[in-house]
Amino acid sequence: MKIIKFLPIIFLYFSLFSSFSNEKNSQLENKIFKNLRCIICQGQSIYDSQSDFAESMKLVVKQKLDSGMSEEEIYIFFKDQYGEWISYDPEFNAKTYFLWGLPVLIFLLGGAIILRKLAVLKN
């Protein structure tokens, strides 16, 4: 049973390293498409959007990949051109500490409250 407690930590650890798997080019393309937001159909990724602009953006992504740019560099390029808004994956920086941290904080806090409650009830 003890191992269960450590599972989240183990998985967090692995999920950090897991992104290094070698993907085929088209899979990588689709992954990038899904992470970029379309400026014309603002609710959709360029993968889902059918707008002309999304098609052009897809072409640019393909060109960049062909020219040897990495996934990360492509995101940086688009963020540079259009602002951070364009990426569906928010960066972890001063602006987003709360975004990333608050849920985990709530989880820990909730855990503490529940443990205390259990301890109280047990006695």
Partner: protein, 627 residues
């Protein structure tokens, strides 16, 4: 047109009736007079009846295409099929609010009829709280979104309904979803009333349980319908986009699911009463919050809704008054909650339900924060960011694994005291399964990450345990067994689906063909045709398997005339193992089509398992009536 007036005046009459009920209930509360009770029943009925009249007037206006009515003018068209004329009634802001109100008054009417076993004071208080909500919505409708406003001169033709909303599933999606959302208001009012009365006990739990189950079932089905619609109409094979509007529908569901588990503990063991109250309040608050976020246009979503800041402001104020009142009531009457000193051990059902709630609250907070954080950031620092699927995946998936494992262990624990339970063998089998699975999956699909492998193994484990429960258990807990089995199947199908899906995207001209896996896709021809409200282009594609089996796909592009919108209609071939999904898209100024073909394994099981989850709830709902 006479129906404009009938609708409008019935709304005003319902305001008067609602106010009457409100004040009558207050005066009755002060000097309990049993005779007046009958009176209230009738008034409740009339309140519902007049909203119904108003709603029917709007339906009639839509059916007759009466363009003197602004709502009809904005959202309907004479060439639209009758079915969509009717469903167009709630396919717009004004009409959908009227539907919301209709269900609100209906549920109050049903509540008052079916709650005779409860103390009269509690019922009256529930009635008062419920009337506050009803009056709030009535004023909201009449002030900011009256469906019966008229225009002059009367236009000859309407502007039409957005074609992506012209869909049979989307026609029934809002009513089902609203049934779920709105019946949570009864849970809200009743829990506040019983809190004030100090009645939060197992008897109350037994009584309110059926409301919780009913709204949970409707919400589950409602979300399912929305997701199915997104699958074949909106997306390119996706069924959940973590779009703000989708998240908003999921949040009350999560809160309600936690409440559902709490109420069982409250009923059986008189524990977790404060959890129950807080969750009842939060569920309804999240429902109204959803209305605010969707209707105000504060969020940027793929689901287009007409929006208006003035409406947003009204709901915002209304929402905060509701939350404020319930907070005050909670803190004033919290002492009424009897803290039960029943002891329970760590390894019992009670504690596993607490852990369940803990995880669900976490999932809820991730979704809530992810959805509203961009608004906060923009207001506070004027910077715009997007929070999308990668965020939710990163924060949800690692926590899903322990959740699944707890879920497979928890329900097999007993109430009160723990036996040393016999799942040592199960744990061993789990590990073996885990290893075998990890091995095979990594071997066959090299790109799969370890997180995924273990997540998959955990869901297999849950699947195995719940399946065992489903066939082994006596009828005592059949509804839980079905729902949990359904849930494990859902997680498993989603995972397998996302791991094993294959797709190709290409630009093809007529006559060309392209290789995909071990088959070829051939673009045979395009056919044009014309219907009353759209022109259609149908592409004919033939897929030849390596064993020379041929499949013909006919994806379609529709060019609607009122309003002018182009939509892609996917051709989907479904069987028990996988969906084949074919969709084409026009490319401006080019003579080729953008095609997309996907093979999506176990797609249908995502829908079936969700239905199974709802069936589990229904079993529990109807069990009460048999006794």
């Amino acid at each position: 047109m006479i129906f404009n007036y009938i609708g409008n005046y019935s709304l005003i009459i319902s305001v008067i009736i609602s106010l009457t009920i409100f004040f009558l209930s207050i005066s009755n509360l002060q000097k309990i007079n049993i005779k007046k009770k009958i009176n209230l029943n009738k008034l409740n009925f009339f309140q519902f009846f007049f909203v119904l009249v108003s709603f029917f007037s709007l339906v009639v206006l839509f059916v007759l295409s009466e363009f003197s009515n602004i709502t009809v003018f904005n959202n309907s068209h004479t060439t639209k099929p009758l079915f969509y004329k009717i469903s167009g009634t709630w396919g717009n802001h004004e009409g959908s609010l009227l539907l919301w109100l209709l269900i609100l008054t209906l549920s109050l009417f049903i509540y008052f009829l079916s709650s005779k076993s409860r103390p009269i004071k509690e019922r009256l208080l529930t009635l008062i709280f419920q009337e506050v909500i009803i009056i709030g919505f009535l004023i909201f409708i009449i002030k900011t979104s009256n469906p019966f406003n008229q225009i002059f001169p009367i236009p000859k033709e309407g502007l039409g309904l957005n074609p992506i909303l012209q869909d049979p599933i989307l026609a029934i999606h809002p009513p089902v979803l609203y049934l779920g959302y709105v019946s949570t208001s009864i849970i809200f009012s009743s829990s506040l009333a019983s809190l004030v009365q100090g009645n939060v006990n197992n008897l109350w739990a037994k009584h309110i349980k059926k409301w919780i189950f009913a709204s949970w079932i409707f919400l589950t089905i409602g979300i399912l319908l929305g997701s199915i619609w997104a699958y074949y109409e909106l997306g390119w094979g996706g069924f959940w986009f973590w779009d703000p509007v989708e998240n908003i529908s999921l949040m009350p569901w999560l809160s309600l699911t936690a409440l559902l588990h709490c109420i069982l503990v409250l009923e059986k063991r008189s524990l977790l009463s404060s959890w129950t109250i807080i969750l009842s309040i939060s569920t309804f608050t999240l429902s109204v919050c959803g209305t605010f976020l969707v209707r105000s246009g504060i969020l940027n979503s793929v689901h287009t809704f007409a929006n208006d800041p003035e409406r947003g402001l009204f709901i915002l104020i209304f929402l905060f008054i509701l939350v404020f009142l319930s907070l005050v009531i909670y803190f004033l009457f919290e002492k009424n909650l009897k803290t039960n000193n029943n002891k329970f051990n760590l390894l019992t059902k009670e504690s596993s339900i607490l852990i369940n709630n803990w995880f669900i609250m976490y999932f809820l907070s991730v979704i809530l924060i992810g959805t509203i954080y961009p608004i906060f950031l923009e207001v506070l620092s004027d910077q715009k960011i997007s929070v999308g699927p990668p965020f939710f995946n990163k924060l949800l998936i690692p926590f899903l694994i322990p959740f699944l494992i707890f879920m497979s262990i928890g329900p097999n624990l007993n109430w009160i005291k723990n036996k040393i339970f016999e799942n040592k063998i199960q744990l061993i089998i789990f590990f073996i399964l885990n290893l075998i699975l990890s091995f095979f999956i990594i071997k066959i699909f090299g790109r799969i990450t370890l997180t995924f492998t273990i997540l998959l193994a955990a869901s297999f484990y849950l699947f195995y345990i719940t399946f065992k429960d489903l066939i082994k258990k006596d009828y005592k807990n059949i509804s839980q067994a079905i729902s949990h089995f359904g849930f494990s199947l859902l997680i498993l199908s989603i995972l397998m689906n996302s791991i094993l899906s294959k797709e190709i995207i290409a630009n093809l001209k007529v006559g060309e063909e392209i290789k995909f896996m071990e088959s070829t896709i051939k673009f045979k021809k395009v056919e044009n045709s014309s219907r009353s409200n759209f022109k259609s282009l149908v592409g004919f594609f033939e897929i030849n398997n390596k064993d020379d089996k041929k499949f013909l796909f006919k994806p379609e592009i529709r060019i609607y005339n009122q309003p002018q919108v182009i939509t892609s209609e996917a051709d989907i071939k479904t069987n028990f193992f996988k969906d084949k999904f074919f969709v084409i898209n026009l490319v401006k100024g080019e003579n080729y089509f953008n095609i997309r073909y996907q093979e999506k394994p176990l797609m249908i099981w995502i829908w079936l398992s969700t239905i199974l989850i709802a069936i589990g709830g229904s079993v529990s709902f109807f069990k009460r009536y048999e006794k």
